[in-house]
């Protein structure tokens, strides 16, 4: 469209004008400087309207909600013909007959009240004039946060029968609320299922959530124990806090223990004898206590009845009563004792086999550990015959039978007389001239007396001579019971302690256990606190390997029974 715009100059008042030729499909009209017809005025927008060719006339269409006045009527679009008056702000445009070469002609009478303010208005001079907004992004970001952080997770949480949304089905679940990763073990079993523990909204995690899996975990102090009166009963989660990084699900700090145990009197006013602990050295930690077995012997008819009880004793000065005679020093002296097959001195591991828990040792038995050296032979002429390792009555019966057959056999009788006697063995039997039965009984009596009072059973066992005429009941052997665990509530890793600088095998054992100087089995070879302190102390002391309370002690006993270790060890 070719448009001739004649702008009347109001300044001179002499009908002066400026003609302008405008061409384009659309003639833009507004206050901005890039409009083909620039009209200043505070009520005129930057891009106010567009003129286009329409038949013989023109069409005006405003942008947005702006309006213009056509022949006195406010409108947003209109068709203009010659003679029509268009008012935009204070400016008046009158359509006139176009000269040749033009599609349209307009006569512009500018607004006489245009001033500097309306001139300034023609430009975007402030950021608020641009697309920038505070309100829209404020609502927008808030909505995004609210939607993905709260509304969608809550909707998924409470929607339908399934209280737990399937983590696979949606990206924006309640996992967005997780304040940190779970402990890897929990992560593996629970995963993203928040409601496994957070079962009721706005309720703290209850112990049932823990005990559903940890059903074997016992309380620190058994329920009903007098001490619990002063113990706060807290939820599991008070100590075991999840969702932290790094995970500190199990608080290992000594403070957890010594805050109370440094002054145990505050824990209880009952009959306890708990001793104060504030660290791990001679001044701050009690000397060790051990669980000891005590045999109780009672006369029962012609024999003895034994029962075992346990008692706690201070390690220092404790004497073991296992009823076994065993000199460690002799057995560890290679000049005195050597193994049957290897022909070498004995080693600790020949008898002491570490259990799979790396703390305790497999039980020691006569058959497995002693008998290869200590054969139970009793008749030099019959070295294959061995006594049963059992009740004295079985021993007597076995001898009676053996000697009865021996004296009844003429060939054997002859050989008996020709054999040389071993030192210490009675020789009276060989000279027996009585009948077969008398000789056999006489020989049996001699050998039984020998076994139970000179050498044989009595070498290792405690034997009580009742003085009875009845050989079957005369000798009573005290049963042997070796303690399996002197410190049932403590943890100790033997295997890791076998790794020592310049000490291997027995040397590593003997660094702590003074077996080489122990001549009697009453000696308790459990090392004391002072021995531990050579290498270990609490974390407040430098230069040693620090130990924490829970390095050796357990807060939660493994089973309810183990809280009463006296019973457990029986």
């Amino acid at each position: 469209m070719e448009l001739l715009l004649r702008e009347l100059q109001s300044t001179t008042g002499f009908g002066e004008f400026i003609d302008r030729e405008l061409s384009g499909d659309k003639i833009t009209l507004g206050c901005a400087h890039d409009q083909l017809i620039q009209l200043l005025g505070t009520d005129i927008q930057a891009r106010h309207a567009v003129l286009s060719k329409s038949g013989s006339g023109m069409r005006i269409k405003t942008t947005g909600s702006h309006t213009v006045e056509v022949n006195g009527e406010r409108t947003r679009s209109a068709t203009l013909k010659v003679g029509d008056t268009l008012k935009v702000g204070g400016h008046t445009l009158v359509l006139s007959e176009p000269p040749s070469g033009f599609d349209a002609a307009m006569e512009l009478t500018p607004d006489s009240e245009v001033d500097a303010a309306s001139f300034e208005h023609a430009f975007q001079t402030s950021l608020t004039d641009t697309w920038l907004s505070k309100r829209i992004p404020a609502w927008g970001i808030s909505l995004v946060v609210l939607l993905f952080g709260m509304l969608i997770p809550v909707f998924l949480l409470f929607d339908g029968d399934d209280a737990t949304p399937d983590p696979e089905s949606s990206v924006f679940t309640d996992t967005f609320w997780s304040s940190g990763p779970l402990h890897p073990a929990h992560q593996q079993t629970i995963g993203e299922e928040c409601s496994a523990c957070h079962s009721v909204p706005f309720q703290r995690v209850q112990d049932e959530a823990c005990t559903a899996c940890h059903n074997k975990t016992e309380d620190h102090i058994p329920t009903g124990h007098f001490v619990t009166q002063n113990m706060p009963t807290e939820r599991c989660a008070v100590c075991h806090v999840e969702h932290n990084e790094p995970s500190f699900l199990i608080v290992k700090a000594d403070g957890m223990c010594v805050d109370c145990h440094a002054d145990p009197t505050q824990l209880s006013d009952g009959p306890g004898h708990m001793r104060a602990v504030s660290g791990f050295d001679m001044n701050s930690h009690p000397t060790f206590e051990v669980a000891m077995l005590k045999p109780e012997i009672k006369k029962a008819g012609t024999g003895l009845s034994f029962s075992w009880s346990m008692y706690e004793a201070l390690l220092e000065g404790a004497q073991e009563t296992s009823n076994l005679k065993y000199p460690h020093d002799l057995h560890l002296d290679p000049d005195a004792v050597q193994t049957v097959n290897g022909g070498r001195g004995m080693q600790c591991a020949d008898c002491h086999t570490l259990s799979a828990d790396n703390e305790h040792f497999e039980p020691i038995s006569m058959e497995a550990h002693c008998q290869s050296c200590h054969e139970l032979t009793f008749d030099d002429s019959a070295p294959q015959r061995q006594l049963p390792h059992g009740e004295p009555i079985e021993v007597v019966q076995m001898m009676e039978g053996h000697f009865a057959r021996t004296f009844a056999d003429p060939a054997k009788k002859a050989s008996q007389q020709s054999r040389r006697r071993r030192p210490g063995r009675s020789s009276s039997s060989s000279q027996c001239t009585a009948g077969i039965f008398e000789c056999a009984m006489q020989r049996t009596r001699t050998e039984v007396t020998n076994q139970f009072s000179v050498s044989g059973c009595i070498t290792c066992h405690e034997v009580d001579d009742t003085g009875s005429d009845d050989l079957y009941t005369r000798y009573q052997v005290y049963p042997v019971r070796l303690s399996h665990d002197f410190m049932p509530t403590a943890k100790f890793d033997h295997r890791s302690h076998l790794t020592q600088k310049d000490a291997q095998g027995d040397d590593a054992c003997l660094n702590c256990h003074e077996a080489k100087t122990s001549s009697v089995s009453n000696d308790l070879l459990i090392p004391g606190l002072r021995n531990c302190n050579q290498c270990h102390s609490d974390s407040n002391t430098s230069g040693t390997v620090p130990l924490q309370c829970i390095s050796c002690h357990q807060f939660h006993p493994l089973t309810a029974e183990s809280t009463n270790f006296l019973e457990r060890n029986l």
């Binding site: 002066e16 400026i18 400087h33 890039d34 620039q38 001033d115 500097a116 303010a117 001139f119 300034e120 430009f123 975007q124 001079t125 402030s126 950021l127 004039d129 641009t130 697309w131 920038l132 907004s133 505070k134 309100r135 829209i136 992004p137 404020a138 927008g140 970001i141 808030s142 995004v144 946060v145 609210l146 952080g149 709260m150 997770p153 809550v154 309640d174 996992t175 967005f176 609320w177 997780s178 304040s179 940190g180 990763p181 928040c194 957070h198 909204p201 706005f202 309720q203 703290r204 995690v205 806090v241 969702h243 932290n244 990084e245 608080v251 290992k252 700090a253 403070g255 957890m256 805050d259």
Partner: protein, 289 residues
Amino acid sequence: MFENIFRYQNSRYLWWSLGLIVVCVGIYASHNASNPPSGSTWQGYTLGTVGALLIVWLTWLGVRKRKYSSTWGTVQGWTSAHIYLGTSVLIIASLHSALEFGWNVHTAAYVLMCLVIFSGFYGLHVYINYPHSLSDNRIGGSRQLLFAELYDLNTRGLSLVPNCSADLQRILSSSIERTAIGGGVFSQLSGRDGSLVTSETGKPVANLDQQYVIDVVAQRIPKAQRAQEAVALEEMLSLLCRRQTILRRIRRDIQMEGWLRIWLFVHIPLTVALIVALIVHIVSTFIYW
């Protein structure tokens, strides 16, 4: 102005904030090995509560600023407290978080808070540094006065156009009419000059810093054939040069004011989002307590 904000009442709020930070650091330091730092210890809850209350109070500045009739403290005092206490929130919230972060609503709230505070630091920076330059550039006046002068120069310039030779008329009038000021966000902040002029060939060409039209007029003066034209051209030249100066000042003014205000388009929307994120953070914490 900024000195008053910083040193308001002998830096009263600086000392308040430092005191608050010391107390909060003390609370945080009371964590120990059996009660390691996290948001869920009693120390964590305390620090979180302090931080949340501070954020709500800091947001209240936006309301207080608009309550001209309020006598509850001066806006200056509020702004001073806003700056110091706002900075302390950064430390208090970091202590509350125990610097444990992850892809969750809690870290989202923390990140929003950091963005709000750092945009605030930028705002503080411009409020310290720009007003002097802004005032210098306006030579003690205002933008309104600069525009008034420009409008006057434009009117005078356009009235001189008919006195010039016909081929110059279009160049001169178009240089005035097609002068660009401000514009979009980028144009305002960069001070870009998109002014155009219709050249002798009738094509629109760039009239950067009005230099094109000034050069044209300057070259024409010696070639003027009529004395009247020479006078008109000389007057036009001095007028164009004055326009150039005024236009530079206006553009610089728009640019500086843009940078002075742009941070608010970040600070305020993010503050609103932060309040929402804070609510989400607190509610979600207690849903899964």
